[in-house]
Point group: C2
Chain length 343, copies 2
């Protein structure tokens, strides 16, 4: 169970916003965000959410055997190495924004224990093919959730005041769409997109694969059952990260469709987790919008990105920082000797 | 005359983007932005546009005598002081992003020569009431344009690699709407908004005032005639800033409706200036969207801000920096040993 947002802190933030030297509500969504940050942290003005920690969980997906992506599975390990090595988009953005960058292997296929800069916590070497049977066991799913919680806990203990979700896993838009369709009841074709670039035939095949897998799930399936059956190891870890951050009252800046699938599971497992989440970027994947609407979230930016890794969320991070700085540092009408408008 | 964007640099940027370790086009608008930056600067990868200089021009508007805003005129001087003193929204954002912040009085009403931190280059103490006659003379308009160019030149000489437009002037959404309607031919009611918060009656009155003023302009009015007749001193300075930046091949990050009115004039005076502009934030003012559509610009963020000062543009600044850092620092498929997708 997650505590509700702190109402007194939010009321104080609303009142403070109306005293700052600007027309009322003129900072638009930055004001809403400052109020949410006050509610999350229970402090007004809310603390500036820096430093932030980007947490990228990497894992493979057995369903790639079904031809749901044009990218070879080896790219998961290669890109995990590239992210840790500083050459990926998220590496550049984390440096720009002064974030720590944590890359965690929870399920890359094959032995990658020699990859430097990666925390090796592999639960299994990729999920099983979800088109054939459960992607993972309940125990494996629990283990990933615990790793996610542990990574969040350590990042917060090390000083992180905001967590940014990221992932790497060839095939993981398939698992995400399956989770989203299963938990929202929205049709599979409305939850499924082109991932990192597939054609019409492959998209149609991807929808068929997901539809087939969901046929195994009966009405009694819990969110964690869904996660284990059609999800992914990195998605389970991200769900754990979201839960732990909410429990510790630390905001989570959420990336695209994979992170949103994880947040949806987390919020269904522990109601209220989504109130601690800020949507960073509107992914081009249709499933992302399904989750955003379900959870009542509106992303801060919309830049037609479809990369993952946490890159969309990281791009939006300075806006969250701005929201906290503005409410904390702007002068008041009284303090600055500025005349308020005629009543 | 402004040079066209550098086509070879843009072609190089497009090719480089396709070699970076991500699916093609997966960075969406950040890729487009990197290509524009290459075209503006003529270099690929484009230089990182830091440090940036925020230039806030302040001036008063005689038309406030007609009751087009609930804010008293003295607020222009008070807010100019607040901006220079560090307490305004743009002050906070400029600090966050490491920008220099230049506040220039080109026409604040009354004597404010004792205000510290402000460059005093007053051309006249506020415009004349545009509902009665021309807001300023052609010479005064030219003087403001030259000040804007001079401020841009000095900022660039001092090391600025990007300029952010800002303004402060009670009543200036009225002048901006008048310019936009006059130069685009779009009806006054579609160009006029509620500024920093007016009711239906005041909005209707504002439309009538603008419509009346535009009746003076005949078909032969040049862009600079329009600017002098129904514009503002700070708007003329901003037009000059946009022109100088484009001539020096330095990107300009443009704020809301007042800055966009200035950019529109600048682009009509010197065709091609708008190609050097990046729209930061979509203002809530309808006239802003009219200019954006006319110039083919799409803002980077849309956060329901309606403050001015350059605050919307400044909020978007880190995204422009991200675009340059990503194309400049990401690894290539070859360099990082990452397998490209199946053809």
């Amino acid at each position: 169970m997650v505590a509700p947002l702190d109402e007194p802190a939010m009321a104080s933030a609303r009142q403070l916003q109306d005293r700052l030297t600007k027309p009322r509500c003129a900072l638009g969504r930055l004001e809403d965000l400052s109020i949410q940050l006050a509610g999350i942290t229970g402090v007004c003005p809310p603390p500036v959410p820096t430093p932030a920690a980007v947490c990228v969980f990497a894992a493979d997906h057995g369903v790639v055997a079904q031809g749901v992506t044009p990218w070879p599975q080896e790219v998961t390990a290669q890109m995990a190495a590239n992210i840790a090595g500083g050459g990926a988009a998220i590496s550049v953005l984390a440096r720009q924004h002064g974030c720590s960058l944590n890359v965690i292997d929870v399920g890359i296929a094959g032995d990658v224990s020699d990859l430097p800069g990666i925390e090796h916590r592999k639960v299994r070497a990729g999920t099983a093919d979800l088109s054939v049977g459960a992607a993972m066991t309940a125990d494996e799913c629990d283990a990933c959730i615990e790793i996610g919680r542990d990574v969040a806990r350590r990042a917060i203990d090390a000083g992180a005041r905001l967590l940014v979700t990221g992932e790497m896993g060839i095939g993981n838009t398939t698992a995400s769409a399956a989770i989203i369709a299963a938990l929202t009841g929205v049709s599979v074709d409305r939850c499924t997109g082109r991932g990192t670039g597939i054609d019409d035939a492959m998209l149609s095949h991807k929808v068929d694969i997901i539809t087939g897998a969901l046929g195994r799930l009966d009405k009694s399936a819990t969110p964690i059952d869904v996660l284990a059956d059609v999800g992914g190891l990195e998605i389970a870890a991200l769900a754990g990260l979201c839960i732990e951050a909410a429990m510790q009252r630390v905001p989570v800046l959420v990336d695209g469709v994979i992170s949103l699938a994880a947040l949806l599971v987390a919020d269904r497992m522990v109601p209220g987790v989504a109130r601690y989440a800020i949507a960073g970027h509107r992914s081009s994947e249709p499933g992302a919008t399904v989750v955003l609407e379900t959870l009542g979230l509106r992303p801060l930016v919309e830049l037609d990105m479809r990369l993952g890794e946490g890159s969309g969320a990281a791009t939006a991070l300075p806006i969250v920082v701005s929201a906290a700085l503005l409410i904390g540092q702007m002068a008041t009408f009284d303090g600055a000797g500025v005349t308020d408008k005629a009543p």
